[in-house]
């Protein structure tokens, strides 16, 4: 007799279910790995490559073709001129050739030794090219009646060029210069310090302001919905719109904030809010708080509204004062969501790019790690160094996430 008891292991139904699950997940896994995993691997690869922005365009043979001399009557002598050059100043192109069609009615008189003519098809093999090579080929021709009749010019048939060059992205040259450059000097620690200041104070500020806003709206009254919607505006509007609005509001020459402060006698002259150290860093942090307090506000409000009211009634019976109720009842209830929010927002603020990029462009002591990626890759055109900074950011992210997941398993998730 078979032993009684529940079946062990995965049965056929379970297997079918798992197969279906993977089937449903495949499109997502595929697309996400194409756009997230592949680029991440690419970042690691590029970070050990000496790549500049200009290297992205592979060196190529540039060819221009025209006809020189008299070519208005039968029997005129003219030259078909090919001007060729290597587009790259520092890379070799090997096996340069080109093919072209000589228009009907042009009788080729002589040929460069590297070229052959088969019927009207011209083929030239120019060998290997050093960086920045330029060449001019002249092919003397005599004009015949057919050429004048059909009106087809040499440049009308486009010449095909070939040539292989080694691409810096795929060859086997590796270097640690990018990382050396990133970690060298005080600059890196300055950038890291700015990033941490921005992330820590931006996150804490947004949490506290959000908590305050949530306390305000944690009661029902007419217009509560409108106010709640209004307080979410900073978060839902396009970043570019609000960032420029702030820039114009705090403009040192014609900004309203400065005009207001001067008029109220707070400051004698206009303040360059986004252009001075350390004020610029404080301002971008305040902007961060302003833009993201609605998020903490929403989460905290949702948590507050789910707290059991019985507890507060009991506290009322015991004669607890409002502050005591907040401190001894609400705060412990909110601690979970506050710490989860802190970790998540910290990671996100750490990774934030758009805000600072739009407000200061990373100037005046506001360059964070993410802005540094852009700065290295595009402003200094050193893609490799930018990738190295990105690797550093990714490392930090992994560190934070490990911490986060360890913490999340204890705390109630979102």
């Amino acid at each position: 007799m078979a032993p009684l008891g529940p079946p062990v292991g995965t049965g056929p139904l379970g297997k079918r279910e798992a197969r279906l699950a993977w089937g449903l997940l495949t499109p997502t896994i595929f697309s996400v790995s194409m756009v997230v995993i592949l680029p991440l691997l690419a970042i690691f690869w590029i970070s050990v490559k000496p790549v500049e922005l200009a290297d992205l365009r592979a060196p190529e043979v540039v060819l221009r073709e025209d006809i020189r001399g008299d070519y208005t009557a039968v029997g005129d002598n003219a030259n078909i001129r090919y001007r060729l050059r290597n587009s790259s100043q520092d890379q070799v192109i090997t096996g340069v050739t080109f093919t072209d069609t000589v228009p009907a009615g042009l009788a080729v008189q002589s040929l460069d030794p590297r070229c052959t003519l088969d019927g009207r098809a011209l083929f030239c093999d120019l060998g290997d090219w050093e960086p920045a090579t330029r060449e001019t080929l002249l092919i003397p021709v005599v004009v015949e009646q057919a050429y004048l009749d059909n009106g087809l010019r040499p440049q009308d048939s486009s010449a095909e060029t070939t040539g292989t060059s080694s691409n810096i992205l795929t060859n086997a040259t590796f270097t640690f210069d990018n990382f050396k450059r990133v970690f060298n000097g005080d600059e890196f620690f300055g950038v890291l310090g700015v990033t941490l200041f921005y992330a820590v104070f931006g996150t804490i500020g947004a949490l506290l302001v959000g908590l305050f806003a949530a306390l305000l709206l944690n009661k029902t009254f007419r217009g509560q919905g409108i106010l709640r919607g209004l307080y979410l505006f900073p978060y839902v509007s396009p970043i570019i719109a609000v960032a420029f609005a702030w820039l114009i509001l705090f403009d040192p020459f014609s900004g309203s904030a400065n005009a207001l402060l001067v008029q109220m006698g707070v400051t004698p002259t206009a303040i360059n809010f986004f252009g001075e150290r350390p004020l610029a860093l404080i301002m971008v942090t305040i902007f961060e708080i302003w833009r993201y307090f609605p998020l903490s506000f929403l989460f905290i409000l949702a948590r507050m509204q789910s707290i059991d009211t019985d507890m507060y009634e009991a506290a009322d019976m015991d004669g607890a004062s409002p502050f005591q109720k907040f401190w001894y009842l609400s705060v412990p209830q909110l601690l979970g969501i506050l710490s989860v929010l802190f970790l998540l927002r910290f990671i996100w603020t750490f990774n934030k790019f758009d805000d600072i990029f739009l407000l200061t462009g990373g100037n005046a002591g506001t360059r964070t790690l993410t802005v540094n990626v852009y700065e290295q890759a595009f402003a200094i055109s050193n893609i490799g160094a930018g990738a190295a900074v990105a690797v550093v950011i990714f490392g930090c992210l992994l560190l934070f996430s490990a911490f986060f997941f360890r913490f999340m398993s204890q705390e109630e998730g979102l």
Partner: protein, 403 residues
Amino acid sequence: MMVFLRRGSVTAILIGVLWTFVIATTVAVSLSFATGEAFRPSLFGSLIWGAGLGLACLPGPRWKPMLAGLTVVIACLLGVGPMVIADTVSVFSTLVGALAAAGFSALGLWMILDDVVFGANNRHAFEAAVIRFCTGFGYIFFTAIVVIPFYVMVLTSLKNQSELIQNPLDFSIDLSKGTDLFRSYNELFVKFNFGEYLLNSFAISVLTVIITLLFAVPGAYAVARLRFRGQVMFSRSILLIYMVPMIVLALPIYIAYSMTGLRNTMTGIIMIYPVTTIPVALYMLQGYFRGLPAEVEEAGLMDGLSRLRVIWKITLPLSLPAMASVSLYVFMIAWNEFLLAFMLLDDPSKFTLTRGIASLNSSEIPRQHLMAGSVIATVPIMIIFLGLERFMTKGLTAGSVKG
């Protein structure tokens, strides 16, 4: 110490001073922004008059706060009140300013100090008064910080360069200009192709929503309902992927797009936007699917429907509200997206709205154009948001660990 603070007279004076100063500042700032004329709060005036108002507004006969308020109005008019009004200000504005400053101070204090008695108070009365003060201050503070940037954005877009430089505070609208007020908008649509950018942005956002849902719904269902090995790891990696900063990905994507010629194409943008939103959508939807009762689906299975039919016939109709939230949230992300558009598009005929606004940020283009562009980008999302606030709020709470 606390006992001293809780004496009604002390509480009234402290709260009176603070509240009067808050109101004086608020009225001064709002009137300055509305008229462009000179109003400023006076610290010294707030100290003196605030203390008096506080004491007068303690519970008692009604004539006391009224009389005190009237005195403050007169003080304001004489230039010694909590708010100083310049001589150049028009009579009407001066009157409105004085009345508002004194009136709101007195009324607010009357409400704040509702059950505080002159002598010793218990904790409850004192703390209730402090909380009422903080509430009033909070409403003013939050409304101000949210409204001011948007107010400046909208009104700047209606001004012209010389007006802006002449008095940056003067946001009064000259209605006699009629449609000329909207010149910046007109120019953006006629000269700068903003109509096309608007359409581009809209098309891209809608397509992003559709593609995202097509990928995320089956994925979320699998994670939420089906049992398979690696389920926990999978849901964690979704969250992890969701946290990878865009700038890290943008660099290799830029390189790949440069090499394959996908830069400056709609296809390229459409390929990349949904992938940035799929993890969010998946995360939000799986949370919702988990909350649906499994029994309904099991009943469907018992009746002989296949899993896919169950999803189509039972799960999806039940999760329409969640789908609405997710769609709105994804739409918002795609509509507001700036970084990728900025890096991947540089052909003006293919710009999205955010990229178009970024191109307005140059010294040759007047700033009212920049602000008009910002308004054009903000208004649609605001309309959607206000119209569907319920769904949007839900979507935000469910998904927006990301910002």
